[in-house]
């Protein structure tokens, strides 16, 4: 008994002690809990891409990648525990995949000097790099998403939304509340009426919200949901026969998990995205050859090519490119977290680069700079084809309304800087 206790204590000490070597990447995943259905494909994609680099290229710049997985269950307290447990091992970047955990980690990571990459989520005003020096949210953020959805609706109405009614069905948390201010500003500009319908965590109970939709008949519904909330919302929309092509989800509400359970009724449902879909890319042949066939695939290996798998892989690809940039800048293969930050801040994604990686036309081009940690806000709209069982892009990549978003970013980041005594500057 005593021996076993000692072993347990030693195991705890082992985890807590720092061991600096290789390029350490932490995957704070969630494969359990109410959001697992969406956490699993993202994590699989994230891990598989790094496994591919290790197997095919021997790591990045000759340095092997050491991938640590830590289960958060989408729970803030567990997320903090994961961060504290792994930061001592020389983690280069964190990708928490949860707005709640991101808010916890922004001050901690800033104090510890470890970059955060909150791709398409987290605190939107972190785009202002002069205030949030260690936080990156390229290639697009929530306010971009809100604007992209409104632009798409405006295009369908020949640029005029006045007199229309737009409902926002959102997760009643920091995540879901993010777009409200932007949508209000855009309502002033375009003249539509905004209707707010909050849904409480985790989101199974939406009867009253959809009753309101049925009574007040908004022309369009925009959704900010995640996990089970998406499935329920889409099913409810089908039940009340809301026209699916007038229903647009943010990128976190647009995966196969969300629409498949609603069957043929979900056909025509739209969702935003900031990367391309499907598995028709050269890199998937490599993943098949080096990762799946060698038995190294993460998880059950059944998610390849799904929307969220692609997103996880895209996140890993952006991290790997930032590592390459940092290695070139600092002339060393074994970079540390501070050098990683420089790499992220000078990251430039071009079409040639993506084509060379086997991902032609996979995401929008963008360039990160000290002032702009959020990319250029390009995104596209995808639509669910129930018969083919796949999302298809129905628009080109187009940019969000920077006129509206930039002042909001400046306002919010200035408030944060003042609250926390940060001296903005590059």
């Amino acid at each position: 008994m005593k021996q076993r206790l000692l072993t347990a204590i030693a195991a705890v000490a082992m985890v807590a002690s720092p061991a600096l070597a290789e390029l350490t990447i932490v995957d704070t995943s969630y494969r359990t809990g109410p959001y697992a259905a969406n956490g699993i494909p993202f994590s699989d994609g994230y891990q598989d891409y790094f496994t591919l680099l290790n197997e095919r290229d021997g790591g990045i710049g000759g340095e092997k990648i050491n991938l640590i997985e830590c289960e958060t269950g989408y729970n803030t307290e567990k997320g903090v525990e994961c961060y504290e447990a792994t930061k001592g091992e020389g983690a280069l970047v964190y990708q928490p995949l949860s707005t709640g955990i991101t808010y916890q980690l922004i001050p901690k990571a800033t104090a510890d000097g470890i970059p955060l990459h909150t791709m398409g989520y987290g605190r939107t005003s972190a785009k202002a790099g002069e205030v949030f020096k260690w936080v990156f949210n390229y290639p697009a953020n929530y306010w971009d998403g809100a604007s992209l959805a409104i632009t798409h609706l405006a295009e369908q109405n020949e640029g005029d939304l006045s007199g229309k009614k737009v409902a926002l069905v959102y997760h009643n948390s920091a995540y879901g509340k993010e777009p409200i201010r932007t949508l209000e500003k855009l309502a002033e500009k375009h003249g539509y009426e905004l209707m707010l319908l909050p849904v409480d965590h985790p989101g199974q109970e939406q009867k009253s919200q959809w009753l309101q939709v049925r009574q007040q008949r908004p022309d369009y519904v925009i959704m900010w949901g995640w996990g089970v909330m998406n499935q329920v919302a889409i099913q409810e929309a089908v039940n009340i026969r809301f026209p699916m092509e007038n229903f647009i989800g943010i990128w976190w509400s647009g995966s196969e998990n969300d629409v498949k359970s609603a069957g043929a009724g979900a056909d025509g449902y739209k969702a935003l995205t900031f990367h391309n879909l499907g598995s028709d890319y050269p890199v998937y042949d490599d993943i098949q050859q080096y990762v799946v066939d060698t038995g190294n695939a993460a998880g059950a290996g059944d998610q390849i090519g799904s929307v969220l798998y692609n997103r996880g892989m895209y996140a890993a690809m952006l991290a790997a490119e930032a590592i390459k940039t940092a290695q070139e800048m600092h002339g060393t293969a074994a970079i540390n977290a501070a050098q990683m930050r420089d790499g992220m801040e000078n990251l430039e994604m071009t079409e040639e680069k993506m084509a060379a990686l086997g991902l032609p036309n996979f995401g929008p081009e963008f360039k990160v700079s000290c002032e702009n940690h959020g990319g250029n806000g390009f995104g596209a709209v995808s639509q669910w084809n129930a018969e083919a069982g796949a999302f298809d892009l129905i628009t080109e990549y187009y940019q969000s309304d920077q006129e509206v978003i930039q002042p909001l970013v400046e306002e919010d980041s200035a408030a944060f800087a003042e609250e926390n005594g940060i001296e903005p500057g590059c």
Binding site: T7, A8, A11, V12, M14, V15, A16, S29, R31, T32, A36, E69, C70, E71, G73, N75, T76, E77, V80, E81, E84, A85, K87, G88, T99, G100, Y103, Q104, I106, P107, K108, T110, A111, R123, N172, S173, A174, K177, E178, I180, R181, P198, D200, H201, G299, D412, E419, N420, G421
Partner: protein
């Protein structure tokens, strides 16, 4: 053998009613306190503070608070999460409203505010009890979370609806915010935990505690022997709310630093603290600590052993954690329904008589 009462004779009432009447116990507790105050702060790092010590200390305070209500006064409450949220939001409003005041006082005042709210929701306890009261406090849980999510004033109209703890200090040392040193956060919470435990211990063995226990054991009989049920029940709600509020304030300000009310102070938190009280032992201060340690430390330990030590996949380990912790809870409750505190008490009795149990 280990626990000797021979030679431990009491010659006065004061000596007889000591908190730790056995000399060996007393010195052991002093030793624990000495280690906690004089040694741990010097060896502690970020991981130990954030993953182990802060949650343990803060949940201990919450468990003590709930134990006073449920364990000593017999008023079942499922509103702990909501009351912790009151403490957190009170602390946030005080921190942002009076930035020049030391955070120490903010935490105490937050406890006071929570005590008031708790008394308000305790009023139905005068007419209903048992499961009915549990449902009434459950309403408090949902109402409070809804309120803090709905009304912008509570979160200073921030765009995301979250509250963030700005940097606040005690005697010039930052206690909240990202620049907090591990030892400062630890010591700050430790002081509150120790003082809360002492206060709770002294309240429960005095007249007030006897009144609570009389109400718990049989309220009609208690009334006949002269206990005022109104005063006894509401004072239990007030004291309990005070401790739970302090726990909520520390949980938000020192431990997490940013809080989303629906997730952090949801119904799960109420259940978690109630389980701590039940597993630790109803009506025992030591039990509150034991229960908090059991439910906070065991999952962390299991995770480190299964994932860090044995290299299991994280999802498998997470599922096994649920099974192991759940299984242990069932085993404990079957083997010792009075909780870890009773287990400890029995062990002590046996040790006192050892090696002659009969």
């Amino acid at each position: 053998m280990f626990y000797r009462e021979a030679g431990d004779f009491k010659t006065s009432y004061v000596a007889d009613s000591q908190t730790f009447p056995i000399k060996f116990d007393r010195f052991r507790y002093y030793a624990v306190l000495l280690v906690a105050f004089a040694i741990v702060p010097f060896v502690i790092n970020d991981y130990w503070v954030n993953a182990v010590f802060l949650p343990f200390l803060i949940y201990s305070i919450a468990a003590i608070g709930l134990n006073i209500l449920v364990g000593y006064c017999g008023q079942v409450s499922l509103g702990t999460g909501g009351f912790m949220a009151v403490g957190a939001y009170a602390c946030y409003k005080l921190m942002t409203g009076f930035p020049e005041v030391s955070i120490f006082f903010h935490v105490i005042i937050s406890g006071g505010i929570t005590a008031g709210v708790c008394v308000l929701f305790g009023l139905p306890s005068l007419r209903i009890k048992g499961f009915y009261l549990a449902v009434a406090t459950l309403a408090a849980q949902f109402f409070l979370v809804w309120l803090f999510n709905r009304v912008g004033w509570f979160y200073n109209y921030s765009a995301s609806g979250q509250i963030n703890a700005p940097e606040r200090t005690v005697l010039g040392v930052p206690i909240t915010g990202a620049e907090t040193a591990p030892w400062a956060a630890y010591l700050f919470c430790l002081v509150f935990t120790v003082v809360c435990a002492l206060v709770a211990r002294n309240l429960t063995r005095g007249m007030q505690g006897r009144q609570w226990m009389a109400i718990r054991d049989m309220d009609i009989a208690a009334e006949i022997i002269g206990v005022n049920p109104l005063k006894a029940k509401l004072s239990a709600f007030a004291v309990s709310g005070f401790f739970v509020g302090i726990a909520g304030a520390l949980f938000f300000a020192v431990y997490l630093g940013a809080v989303e009310v629906g997730e952090v102070f949801g119904i799960n938190k109420s259940f978690l603290v109630l389980f701590m009280v039940i597993i630790g032992g109803l009506g025992s201060i030591f039990g509150s600590f034991a229960g908090a340690a059991f439910l906070v430390l065991l999952p962390v330990l299991l995770k480190n052993v299964l994932v860090g030590g044995l290299g299991w996949p994280t999802d498998l380990a997470a599922h096994f954690e649920f099974i192991i912790v759940g299984g242990l809870i069932v085993i404990f409750l079957v083997a010792e329904p009075h909780g870890l505190a009773q287990l400890w008490r029995v062990a002590k009795e046996k040790l006192r008589l050892w090696p002659f149990p009969h």
